[in-house]
């Protein structure tokens, strides 16, 4: 590679953009100008927190992926017990899904209200989000109780073990989200909008939407495919 090319290519082997520097040509003050290659210095706090939470969500989705994989492997292992078509109820499923999807929408509305600094509306939408989440959770608990009462508990077969674990893990996340939302509402009421609290609200919204996405996966893989046989 010629010297001229080396000048043009900032990342030539073993030499960065300041390659000429080592040759004693010296550098002007333009070293630090943003190049679009991640040289702009530390990101603002909000970006850092949001990015970190995204990374956490990705890891959480991999956790779910493990349970999805187990469900896919074990979904045919009924051990002589009941299968999806005898167990899943479409009406409850529709209600659950509607409650959760609408709660994602209201969670978005809460985010918009928080962005405008409207306390009452933020609290109101958060409350609606939480209530819809509670409806979802209540329906899921009812479903689990019905199954167990029918003798189709997680101990019955590998299919039911995988089903209860996957759907239950999602339910556990929803429960944690409810606790989180409640705590946030109390904190918001006492302390008002502060940067740290706004960042937490942003993370909560990300969390809640991610759970929605996971539910879409469960809805499809577990319930739709199960009912389709």
């Amino acid at each position: 590679m010629s010297a001229a090319e080396a000048q043009e290519d900032p990342y030539v082997l073993g030499r960065g953009r300041g390659g000429a520097d080592a040759a004693g040509e010296g550098r002007g003050g333009d070293d630090a100008r943003p190049s679009g290659r991640g040289e702009g210095g530390p990101a603002p706090k909000r970006t850092v927190v949001g990015y970190g939470f995204w990374i956490y969500l990705l890891s959480d989705i991999i956790l779910f992926a493990g349970f999805f994989a187990a469900y896919a492997v074990l979904s045919g292992d009924l051990a002589g017990g009941p299968g999806p078509q005898e167990l899943f109820e479409q009406r409850r499923l529709a209600l659950e899904t509607a409650a959760l999807l609408i709660s994602s929408f209201t969670c978005g509305l809460a985010g918009i209200a928080a962005g405008r600094g409207a306390m009452l509306r933020t609290q109101g939408w958060l409350l609606v989000t939480g209530l819809l989440g509670a409806v979802f959770l209540g329906l899921e608990v009812q479903e689990f109780a019905t199954l167990v009462a029918e003798g189709a508990g997680p101990q019955r077969s590998a299919f039911l073990s995988a089903f209860f674990a996957l759907v239950g893990l999602h339910g556990l996340h929803i429960a944690a989200g409810l606790l989180w939302a409640g705590t946030m509402m109390a904190q918001l009421a006492v302390k008002g909008f502060r940067p740290a609290i706004e960042r937490r609200l942003m993370c909560f919204a990300l969390f809640w939407h991610a759970l929605d996405i996971v539910w879409v996966g469960i809805f499809t893989v577990v319930y739709l495919l199960g009912l389709a046989g």
Binding site: G14, R15, R17, A32, G52, G66, Q155, S161
Partner: protein, 660 residues
């Protein structure tokens, strides 16, 4: 069931002298340490400056201290296994009954991987990465502290099993269905599950933190392709943590559900699939070995470039090789169980993938060799460890390629050849890298170098012992000796086992020399003092700040104009015959110390312990208290401290003044 669940007096192994004595000794040692701290009145200092510290440098040091202690603990297990086996040759009965021997090899692997090697690597990343990136802290300092204390909590639970109950007898990966309640009714597997889960959550937090730190908080001008190699390997290892550890969490959760609630994930009955456990655990387990080795590769890259007096050869190909390994590490897991019977085509595909991943490592080996070629070589202790790595790791890598051939693997599977192979890569890769990093960055952390004489003794003894031990085991494996034998019935393996015991004796001398080095260095710290902050003629930014660095690392954030920024600064200073001009200091805001991590880990330990012994009320109480603590910490208004510009200037002058 009583109020203490399954816990009663029979949990204390009165009838087993070895664990009792070991546990008693450990407790006596801890009590002595705690008593000494109390008598000397060091508690306020320890609490303020270390336990509640959110400074990434302090947390990094605590990780390394934990790792060193656990490496010694795991090494003692290894000594017991080697000597016991040698004593059973020719009809002897040794000194470890089978159920105890099984616990020891399980504890050895668990402790070495999860609480020795991993914390060492995470500790080095924690300490070095922000300094190399030229920033003041990690992205999430309190999360960092929590991650460390959760790891410590896991280590505590494992060691608690020594005196209360038992540890798993299932190997370091509790293969189902052996690990199910029906075959392992005791608390051993439960200790394993809760300890590794709690430690694993800590590791995941550390991974998220380091990824975010590297991607979002680099100094101005520090583009991706200007990052030091160690930052690259830290980034890749942390991405692997984020992508792989949730699989471990999921797998162990499934096993926990099987054991506690009668689920059927991995049971023989009701449609469970034991082979799914093996697949899932290795889907985490293979990336895990690269989580261990990649940061070590980073250490070697820094050390070899520094002591060759040259930039790293083929920097960009090194980055590419690291990323290649990161991706391909997820595509080879099946080579851990070629004998499962997945069929010739599946085995061939994974065998080829396994051979291909060695290409990435080969690229690195050549890059290190060419970095040294034509360099002005120096051979202090970190460089010796790196060279020892180069020589021995190549052997380990090549036996790995042998094992990647499914037909050969059918014969060598579960043999001592395999055991020798993975010790060959993990010890000469990760452990040598850890010790190289420890001696390399020790002066940065404490302001004085480690004693070279004892360091070199430790290196040569450890290297010799290591080659003798595992050389003998390679041959024993080729002669057909399988792993985990409590009793050795074949007399002709005897000589090889005696040789490996001799090697262990040399390694003990090596470890002793390593400990002596630390003691001697602390005593001679005034003679070994390094006032320059740059004892090795370093090339990256961690050497640009005084040793030990101030809480805020850099009084003014460095502006990075290319690769090897500190080398540039020095060259410019020499060219212009001027040190850099006095800077205008600005106030610096740093996170305030916080007990969040310690308190969280305390409750995690309580929950883990209660779940092991099935003390349900205590587990519930721990959960409620953990939530309470979480809210209390989230409620605080002030969690940052600000150094005024004058303070910054004063601290900086005092430290720079020491150098002048």
């Amino acid at each position: 069931m009583s109020v203490l669940g399954k816990l009663d007096w029979s949990a204390i192994p009165i009838d087993q002298p070895i664990p009792l004595a070991a546990g008693g000794g450990a407790i006596a040692l801890m009590l002595a340490a705690l008593g000494w701290v109390t008598v000397k009145g060091h508690w306020p200092y320890l609490w303020r400056e270390w336990i509640t510290s959110v400074d990434h440098k302090r947390i990094g040091v605590m990780y390394v201290v934990l790792a060193l202690a656990m490496l010694v603990r795991g090494f003692i297990d290894a000594i017991m296994m080697r000597t016991h086996q040698a004593l059973t040759v020719g009809g002897g009965s040794g000194y470890l009954p089978p159920e105890h021997f099984n616990q020891i090899f399980s504890a050895h692997g668990t402790i070495m991987i999860f609480f020795g090697a991993m914390p060492f690597m995470v500790g080095l990343m924690n300490f070095v990465v922000p300094l190399q990136l030229g920033v003041r802290d990690v992205a999430f300092p309190r999360l960092n502290s929590t991650a460390f204390w959760l790891t410590a909590s896991g280590a505590l639970l494992v060691n608690l099993s020594l005196v209360l109950g038992e540890f798993a007898r299932t190997g370091w990966l509790p293969y189902a269905p052996l690990s199910e309640r029906s075959y392992s009714p005791g608390v051993g597997v439960d200790y394993y599950l809760w300890a590794v889960q709690i430690g694993g959550v800590g590791t995941l937090m550390a991974g998220i933190n380091i990824v975010t730190t590297i991607v979002k908080t680099r100094a101005p001008g520090m583009g991706y392709l200007r990052m030091p190699m160690f930052c690259w390997t830290a980034l890749c290892a942390s991405m692997l943590i984020v992508a792989a550890f949730p699989i471990l969490t999921a797998t162990l959760t499934m096993l926990t559900l099987d054991r506690y609630l009668g689920f059927h994930f991995f049971t023989n009955a009701a449609g469970g699939s034991p082979m799914m456990f093996v697949n899932l655990i290795w889907a985490w387990g293979h990336p895990e070995v690269y989580i261990l080795i990649l940061p070590a590769f980073g250490v070697f890259s820094e050390v070899i470039a520094t002591f060759s007096g040259k930039p790293l050869f083929g920097y960009r190909s090194m980055v590419a090789a690291t990323l290649f390994i990161t991706v391909v590490s997820f595509m080879v897991w099946l080579h851990h169980f070629f004998t499962m019977g997945a069929g010739a085509n599946v085995n061939a595909a994974f065998g080829i993938a396994t051979s291909i991943i060695a290409v990435g490592t080969g690229v690195k080996i050549y890059n290190w060799l060419f970095t040294m070629y034509g360099g002005r070589l120096r051979f202090p202790t970190p460089m010796l460890w790196s060279l020892g790595f180069l020589f021995t790791f190549i052997i380990g890598g090549m036996t790995g390629v042998l094992l990647a051939v499914p037909a050969a693997d059918f014969i060598l599977h579960n043999s001592l050849f395999l055991v020798a192979h993975f010790h060959n890569v993990i010890v000469s890769g990760t452990v040598f890298g850890a010790i190289a990093g420890y001696t390399f960055w020790f002066p940065k952390a404490f302001g004085f170098t480690l004693d070279e004489r004892w360091g070199k003794r430790a290196f040569w003894l450890s290297l010799a012992g290591f080659v003798i031990v595992f050389g003998a085991l390679y041959i024993a494996g080729l002669e057909g000796m399988t792993r985990r034998l409590q009793h050795v019935a074949v007399a002709q393996w005897g000589p090889l086992l005696y040789v490996s015991v001799a090697g262990v004796a040399v390694m003990i001398a090596g470890v002793a020399a390593q400990i002596t080095q630390l003691v001697v260095s602390i005593r001679r710290r005034d003679a070994l003092r390094d006032d320059t902050g740059d004892p090795w003629e370093g090339r990256s930014l961690e050497w640009a700040t005084p040793s030990p660095p101030p809480a805020f690392n850099f009084a003014t954030l460095p502006e990075v104009g290319g690769e090897e920024p500190y080398w540039r600064i020095k060259e410019r200073a020499i060219a212009s015959q001027q040190e850099r001009s006095a800077s205008d200091y600005e106030p610096i805001t740093m996170p305030r110390r916080s007990a969040t991590g310690f308190v969280t880990a305390f409750f995690a330990t309580v929950i883990g312990f209660a779940m092991v012994w099935q003390i349900w009320w205590l587990a519930a109480l721990g959960l409620v208290c953990a939530y309470g603590a979480f809210v209390a910490f989230a409620w605080r208004d002030e969690n940052e401290d600000t150094f005024s510009a004058e303070e910054v200037a004063r601290i900086e002058r005092a430290r720079r003044g020491a150098a002048a």
